[in-house]
Subunit: 187 residues, 2 copies
């Protein structure tokens, strides 16, 4: 591993935002040359694949300013300061969908863009869903549409690129794999 | 969709880098309030799942400055200016592994971090691999270690978090699904 290491020679914080920070780092490469790395620091995030008793998936449509379009995704959100991923998964599911989950199982965690960012997403599978009777509210600045679809409908949305992001694509492929392995609930 | 739209009121470019640009956008929310969006612009990228005739997967270990650690990933790289994703996939495969592919099939494209970045990754499956006889060289600033592993070995690396990124996790799950569906080559 040592022969791959990039030593930081100089590090400058160019921007400190509400969600991301930007650093420029001058690094010494293994061959002694120097190069520059552009690094985004992110607090990390959770995503939840919510499965209803009838096998349908709860999805949210929301506007993504970075893309200037709306996407359909599994519910997700960034970790609040000091928050445990599991608690965050329960919070985001309820805030975005109004559902509470009896079971919240960790599926996988992965970095989304290791080439320039340290965002780590923790993905959970939520089952035993019940509507929160006290009518959980959305975040003030969050505008989302709820969808409840079958796996086939979700795969069609992936084909049509209404679903178009890594975490949701991974989650749907997970359901396909689970079905192929025969471990899925009867439907 | 209209009711989700966020209108840009003001847009400022804070940083223009070698790989990413950073914008701050003041937006008008559907309820008339304003908010601020931090947006990273990225040229897009390709990733390649290279499969050897014996079913082994070609992976690369490289240092990721954003994470301050090395990761094992499928070969990937950003799109050069004006480059088609398919041409980029062939180029990156050869630059990072020294292999040329007779078959390069598009598997899926997805946004990696739609919450703050527009990076779109195009994922390909490369088969019919042959070592380039003229010994393709690495990029000057790229230091990578090559690995050739079975799917089981790769899944163990995922378990151990040597493999820890979305595109590689997706690619490995794709191979599991292909095997479960019985469409994989005999091995």
């Amino acid at each position: 591993m040592e022969k791959l290491y990039e030593k930081t020679v100089r590090k400058e914080k160019l921007f400190s935002g509400r969600i991301i920070d930007l650093y420029i780092e001058e690094v010494e490469l293994p061959n002694g040359k120097t190069s520059r790395r552009e690094v985004i620091k992110h607090p990390g995030a959770v995503a939840v694949l919510p499965l209803l008793p009838d096998g349908k998936i709860v999805l949210v449509r929301q506007y993504r300013k970075a893309l200037e379009r709306a996407l359909v995704e599994i519910p997700a959100g960034k970790l609040e300061h000091g928050e445990e991923p599991l608690a965050s998964a329960h919070r985001e599911l309820e805030e975005e969908t109004g559902y509470r989950a009896q079971s919240m199982r960790h599926l996988i965690s992965f970095y989304t863009s290791p080439g320039f960012a340290d965002e780590l997403i923790h993905l959970y599978v939520a089952e035993g869903l019940e509507k929160a009777e006290d009518g959980a509210g959305l975040d003030e600045d969050e505008f989302v549409e709820l969808l409840e679809v079958t796996l086939e409908e979700a795969l069609e949305m992936l084909q049509q690129r209404d679903i178009y992001d890594a975490k949701t694509a991974y989650a749907l492929q997970y359901l396909q794999l689970r079905r192929a392995l025969g471990e899925q609930n009867a439907e």
